[in-house]
Amino acid sequence: MPLSARETDRLGERIKGGDVTDQDRHLLEEFRVSYLPAYQEVVGRIREVMGLHPSGRPDKRLESIVAKLQREETSLSQMQDIAGCRIVVEDWEQQNWVVQGLVQVFERTRVVDRRQKPRHGYRAVHVIVRTQGRPVEVQVRTFLQDLWANVVEGLSSEAGDLKHGVELPDYAGTLALMADAADAIAFAERERGLDSLTAAETAKLTLREGALYRTGLFRGIVWSAMHFHLRRIQR
Protein backbone atom coordinates (compact mmCIF):
# COMPACT_ATOMS: atom_id res chain seq x y z
CA MET A 1 0.00 0.00 0.00
CA PRO A 2 1.69 3.24 -1.09
CA LEU A 3 2.03 6.05 1.42
CA SER A 4 -0.32 9.02 1.11
CA ALA A 5 1.22 12.48 0.64
CA ARG A 6 0.56 13.26 4.29
CA GLU A 7 2.17 10.01 5.48
CA THR A 8 5.12 10.67 3.15
CA ASP A 9 5.65 14.14 4.62
CA ARG A 10 5.45 12.80 8.16
CA LEU A 11 8.14 10.29 7.19
CA GLY A 12 10.20 13.18 5.81
CA GLU A 13 9.86 15.08 9.06
CA ARG A 14 11.00 12.04 11.06
CA ILE A 15 14.12 11.37 8.97
CA LYS A 16 15.05 15.04 8.72
CA GLY A 17 16.96 14.84 12.01
CA GLY A 18 19.30 12.27 10.53
CA ASP A 19 18.45 9.42 12.91
CA VAL A 20 16.63 6.99 10.66
CA THR A 21 14.99 3.99 12.31
CA ASP A 22 14.92 0.63 10.54
CA GLN A 23 11.18 0.98 10.01
CA ASP A 24 11.49 4.44 8.49
CA ARG A 25 14.41 3.32 6.35
CA HIS A 26 12.22 0.54 4.99
CA LEU A 27 9.33 2.95 4.31
CA LEU A 28 11.69 5.33 2.55
CA GLU A 29 13.08 2.53 0.39
CA GLU A 30 9.55 1.58 -0.67
CA PHE A 31 8.83 5.23 -1.43
CA ARG A 32 11.95 5.54 -3.59
CA VAL A 33 11.20 2.29 -5.45
CA SER A 34 7.71 3.62 -6.26
CA TYR A 35 9.37 6.05 -8.71
CA LEU A 36 10.80 3.24 -10.83
CA PRO A 37 7.89 2.81 -13.32
CA ALA A 38 7.84 6.56 -14.07
CA TYR A 39 11.64 6.64 -14.34
CA GLN A 40 11.68 3.68 -16.75
CA GLU A 41 8.99 5.25 -18.91
CA VAL A 42 10.83 8.57 -19.16
CA VAL A 43 14.27 7.08 -19.88
CA GLY A 44 12.75 4.59 -22.33
CA ARG A 45 10.93 7.26 -24.34
CA ILE A 46 13.97 9.53 -24.43
CA ARG A 47 15.92 6.63 -25.93
CA GLU A 48 13.26 5.30 -28.28
CA VAL A 49 11.50 8.47 -29.44
CA MET A 50 14.33 10.99 -29.25
CA GLY A 51 17.21 8.62 -30.03
CA LEU A 52 19.29 9.92 -27.11
CA HIS A 53 21.23 7.99 -24.49
CA PRO A 54 20.72 9.52 -21.06
CA SER A 55 22.51 8.30 -17.97
CA GLY A 56 19.98 7.55 -15.28
CA ARG A 57 19.82 7.58 -11.52
CA PRO A 58 16.74 5.59 -10.50
CA ASP A 59 17.02 6.36 -6.76
CA LYS A 60 18.27 9.45 -4.96
CA ARG A 61 20.62 8.50 -2.13
CA LEU A 62 19.19 8.50 1.40
CA GLU A 63 21.92 10.88 2.59
CA SER A 64 21.06 13.35 -0.19
CA ILE A 65 17.36 13.19 0.64
CA VAL A 66 18.02 13.92 4.32
CA ALA A 67 20.43 16.75 3.45
CA LYS A 68 17.89 18.33 1.10
CA LEU A 69 15.13 18.15 3.69
CA GLN A 70 17.44 19.87 6.19
CA ARG A 71 18.66 22.47 3.73
CA GLU A 72 15.55 23.52 1.88
CA GLU A 73 11.95 24.45 2.53
CA THR A 74 10.65 21.34 0.86
CA SER A 75 8.75 18.27 1.91
CA LEU A 76 9.45 14.68 0.90
CA SER A 77 6.29 14.36 -1.20
CA GLN A 78 7.20 17.55 -3.12
CA MET A 79 10.76 16.52 -3.97
CA GLN A 80 11.21 16.58 -7.75
CA ASP A 81 14.46 14.68 -8.10
CA ILE A 82 14.00 11.36 -6.32
CA ALA A 83 14.49 9.77 -9.76
CA GLY A 84 16.19 11.40 -12.70
CA CYS A 85 18.50 11.22 -15.65
CA ARG A 86 21.09 13.38 -17.38
CA ILE A 87 21.74 14.25 -21.01
CA VAL A 88 25.03 15.94 -21.93
CA VAL A 89 25.18 17.77 -25.26
CA GLU A 90 27.77 19.80 -27.12
CA ASP A 91 26.47 23.37 -26.97
CA TRP A 92 23.53 25.70 -26.26
CA GLU A 93 21.91 25.03 -29.62
CA GLN A 94 21.73 21.30 -28.95
CA GLN A 95 20.62 21.99 -25.38
CA ASN A 96 17.68 24.06 -26.63
CA TRP A 97 16.84 21.39 -29.19
CA VAL A 98 16.76 18.62 -26.57
CA VAL A 99 14.65 20.70 -24.17
CA GLN A 100 12.15 21.46 -26.95
CA GLY A 101 12.04 17.78 -27.81
CA LEU A 102 11.33 16.77 -24.21
CA VAL A 103 8.47 19.26 -23.99
CA GLN A 104 6.97 17.82 -27.18
CA VAL A 105 7.45 14.16 -26.30
CA PHE A 106 6.02 14.33 -22.78
CA GLU A 107 2.56 15.59 -21.95
CA ARG A 108 3.25 17.18 -18.55
CA THR A 109 6.53 19.04 -18.18
CA ARG A 110 7.97 21.99 -16.30
CA VAL A 111 11.14 23.64 -17.54
CA VAL A 112 13.59 25.13 -15.03
CA ASP A 113 16.18 27.11 -16.98
CA ARG A 114 19.17 27.55 -14.67
CA ARG A 115 21.07 29.30 -17.45
CA GLN A 116 18.86 32.32 -16.72
CA LYS A 117 18.89 31.85 -12.96
CA PRO A 118 22.13 30.08 -12.04
CA ARG A 119 22.43 28.69 -8.52
CA HIS A 120 25.90 29.34 -7.05
CA GLY A 121 27.18 29.33 -10.63
CA TYR A 122 25.44 26.07 -11.60
CA ARG A 123 23.91 26.23 -15.04
CA ALA A 124 21.79 23.64 -16.85
CA VAL A 125 18.22 23.19 -17.98
CA HIS A 126 16.10 20.83 -15.89
CA VAL A 127 12.89 19.45 -17.35
CA ILE A 128 10.57 17.95 -14.75
CA VAL A 129 8.42 15.32 -16.43
CA ARG A 130 5.35 14.17 -14.53
CA THR A 131 3.96 10.76 -15.40
CA GLN A 132 2.28 7.90 -13.52
CA GLY A 133 1.76 10.29 -10.62
CA ARG A 134 5.50 10.87 -10.11
CA PRO A 135 7.99 13.56 -11.20
CA VAL A 136 11.21 12.58 -12.97
CA GLU A 137 13.95 15.20 -13.34
CA VAL A 138 15.77 15.32 -16.67
CA GLN A 139 18.98 17.36 -16.49
CA VAL A 140 20.15 18.74 -19.82
CA ARG A 141 23.70 20.12 -19.68
CA THR A 142 26.29 21.23 -22.19
CA PHE A 143 29.69 19.58 -21.98
CA LEU A 144 31.20 22.58 -20.17
CA GLN A 145 28.26 23.08 -17.81
CA ASP A 146 28.56 19.40 -16.91
CA LEU A 147 32.31 19.57 -16.44
CA TRP A 148 31.94 22.62 -14.20
CA ALA A 149 29.29 20.84 -12.10
CA ASN A 150 31.47 17.74 -11.78
CA VAL A 151 34.43 19.85 -10.66
CA VAL A 152 32.29 21.58 -8.02
CA GLU A 153 30.93 18.27 -6.73
CA GLY A 154 34.45 16.84 -6.68
CA LEU A 155 35.70 19.83 -4.71
CA SER A 156 32.87 19.59 -2.22
CA SER A 157 34.40 16.81 -0.13
CA GLU A 158 37.33 19.11 0.55
CA ALA A 159 36.20 22.71 0.27
CA GLY A 160 32.63 22.49 1.62
CA ASP A 161 29.21 21.95 0.10
CA LEU A 162 29.92 24.32 -2.75
CA LYS A 163 27.00 23.05 -4.79
CA HIS A 164 24.69 24.52 -2.18
CA GLY A 165 26.68 27.65 -1.43
CA VAL A 166 28.68 26.50 1.60
CA GLU A 167 32.48 26.88 1.69
CA LEU A 168 34.82 25.96 4.53
CA PRO A 169 36.96 28.76 6.05
CA ASP A 170 40.21 27.43 4.54
CA TYR A 171 38.62 27.68 1.12
CA ALA A 172 36.98 31.09 1.47
CA GLY A 173 36.58 32.70 -1.93
CA THR A 174 36.25 29.39 -3.79
CA LEU A 175 32.56 29.95 -4.45
CA ALA A 176 33.15 33.37 -5.96
CA LEU A 177 35.97 32.04 -8.11
CA MET A 178 33.91 29.14 -9.40
CA ALA A 179 30.96 31.43 -10.10
CA ASP A 180 33.27 33.69 -12.14
CA ALA A 181 34.55 30.68 -14.06
CA ALA A 182 30.96 29.60 -14.75
CA ASP A 183 30.11 33.12 -15.93
CA ALA A 184 33.03 33.13 -18.34
CA ILE A 185 32.01 29.75 -19.75
CA ALA A 186 28.38 30.86 -20.08
CA PHE A 187 29.44 34.06 -21.82
CA ALA A 188 31.50 32.13 -24.32
CA GLU A 189 28.78 29.56 -24.96
CA ARG A 190 25.84 31.95 -25.11
CA GLU A 191 27.12 35.18 -26.57
CA ARG A 192 29.51 33.65 -29.01
CA GLY A 193 27.51 30.54 -29.86
CA LEU A 194 30.64 28.44 -29.68
CA ASP A 195 31.13 24.71 -29.49
CA SER A 196 32.53 23.48 -26.19
CA LEU A 197 36.16 23.26 -27.24
CA THR A 198 36.23 26.81 -28.61
CA ALA A 199 34.13 28.03 -25.71
CA ALA A 200 36.69 26.67 -23.25
CA GLU A 201 39.44 28.53 -25.07
CA THR A 202 37.35 31.71 -25.12
CA ALA A 203 36.54 31.36 -21.43
CA LYS A 204 40.25 31.11 -20.75
CA LEU A 205 40.87 34.34 -22.66
CA THR A 206 37.95 36.05 -20.92
CA LEU A 207 39.35 35.10 -17.53
CA ARG A 208 42.85 36.14 -18.51
CA GLU A 209 41.61 39.52 -19.70
CA GLY A 210 39.95 39.91 -16.33
CA ALA A 211 43.32 39.16 -14.70
CA LEU A 212 41.70 36.25 -12.92
CA TYR A 213 43.35 33.47 -14.83
CA ARG A 214 46.34 33.62 -12.51
CA THR A 215 44.40 31.73 -9.84
CA GLY A 216 44.86 28.00 -9.83
CA LEU A 217 41.13 27.34 -9.91
CA PHE A 218 40.64 29.14 -13.16
CA ARG A 219 43.61 27.51 -14.78
CA GLY A 220 42.32 24.20 -13.45
CA ILE A 221 38.83 24.34 -14.80
CA VAL A 222 39.91 25.53 -18.21
CA TRP A 223 42.74 23.03 -18.29
CA SER A 224 40.27 20.28 -17.38
CA ALA A 225 37.88 21.37 -20.11
CA MET A 226 40.55 21.35 -22.77
CA HIS A 227 42.13 18.13 -21.56
CA PHE A 228 38.94 16.10 -21.39
CA HIS A 229 37.51 17.47 -24.56
CA LEU A 230 40.64 16.87 -26.58
CA ARG A 231 40.87 13.35 -25.27
CA ARG A 232 37.25 12.72 -26.25
CA ILE A 233 37.94 13.90 -29.78
CA GLN A 234 41.02 11.71 -30.03
CA ARG A 235 39.08 8.54 -29.14
Binding site: R61, E63, G220
Partner: protein, 74 residues
Protein backbone atom coordinates in the same frame (compact mmCIF):
# COMPACT_ATOMS: atom_id res chain seq x y z
CA UNK B 1 20.99 0.06 -20.62
CA UNK B 2 23.14 -1.38 -17.85
CA UNK B 3 23.03 -0.68 -14.16
CA UNK B 4 26.16 0.26 -12.27
CA UNK B 5 26.49 0.31 -8.52
CA UNK B 6 29.38 2.56 -7.53
CA UNK B 7 31.02 2.84 -4.11
CA UNK B 8 33.00 6.05 -3.84
CA UNK B 9 35.27 7.02 -0.97
CA UNK B 10 34.97 10.79 -0.68
CA UNK B 11 37.85 11.19 1.75
CA UNK B 12 40.27 9.44 -0.59
CA UNK B 13 38.47 10.80 -3.65
CA UNK B 14 38.57 7.32 -5.13
CA UNK B 15 36.14 4.84 -6.59
CA UNK B 16 36.58 1.70 -4.50
CA UNK B 17 34.06 -0.64 -6.12
CA UNK B 18 31.99 -0.94 -9.29
CA UNK B 19 29.35 -3.63 -9.77
CA UNK B 20 27.62 -4.06 -13.10
CA UNK B 21 24.19 -5.58 -13.66
CA UNK B 22 22.50 -6.87 -16.77
CA UNK B 23 19.82 -4.62 -18.32
CA UNK B 24 16.57 -4.68 -16.38
CA UNK B 25 17.96 -6.13 -13.15
CA UNK B 26 16.49 -3.28 -11.14
CA UNK B 27 15.29 -5.48 -8.27
CA UNK B 28 18.65 -7.10 -7.58
CA UNK B 29 20.63 -3.89 -8.09
CA UNK B 30 18.31 -1.86 -5.89
CA UNK B 31 18.38 -4.41 -3.05
CA UNK B 32 22.17 -4.40 -3.04
CA UNK B 33 22.21 -0.60 -3.29
CA UNK B 34 20.02 -0.27 -0.19
CA UNK B 35 22.14 -2.85 1.69
CA UNK B 36 25.40 -1.05 0.93
CA UNK B 37 23.88 2.32 1.74
CA UNK B 38 22.91 1.01 5.17
CA UNK B 39 26.13 -0.93 5.86
CA UNK B 40 28.64 1.63 4.57
CA UNK B 41 27.41 5.04 5.73
CA UNK B 42 30.87 6.58 5.28
CA UNK B 43 30.88 5.76 1.59
CA UNK B 44 28.97 7.43 -1.21
CA UNK B 45 27.03 4.57 -2.79
CA UNK B 46 25.12 5.41 -5.95
CA UNK B 47 23.07 3.38 -8.43
CA UNK B 48 23.35 4.64 -12.00
CA UNK B 49 22.23 3.44 -15.40
CA UNK B 50 23.85 4.02 -18.78
CA UNK B 51 24.30 2.43 -22.18
CA UNK B 52 27.91 1.63 -21.29
CA UNK B 53 30.55 2.33 -18.66
CA UNK B 54 32.16 4.80 -21.09
CA UNK B 55 28.89 6.77 -21.27
CA UNK B 56 28.74 6.84 -17.50
CA UNK B 57 32.31 8.08 -17.29
CA UNK B 58 31.31 10.96 -19.52
CA UNK B 59 28.24 12.09 -17.58
CA UNK B 60 29.46 11.26 -14.05
CA UNK B 61 33.15 11.84 -14.48
CA UNK B 62 33.81 12.94 -10.91
CA UNK B 63 33.52 9.33 -9.73
CA UNK B 64 36.15 8.18 -12.21
CA UNK B 65 38.67 10.98 -12.47
CA UNK B 66 40.19 13.39 -10.00
CA UNK B 67 39.03 16.75 -11.28
CA UNK B 68 40.47 18.62 -8.33
CA UNK B 69 44.18 17.92 -8.66
CA UNK B 70 44.72 21.51 -9.71
CA UNK B 71 43.86 22.57 -6.16
CA UNK B 72 47.43 21.69 -5.26
CA UNK B 73 48.63 24.52 -7.46
CA UNK B 74 45.98 27.00 -6.37
Amino acid sequence: MRLFLLTYDRRRRALVDTQEFEPGQYGEATRLFFDLERDQPDMEVVLLEAASLDDLKRTHRRYFEDLTGFLQTA
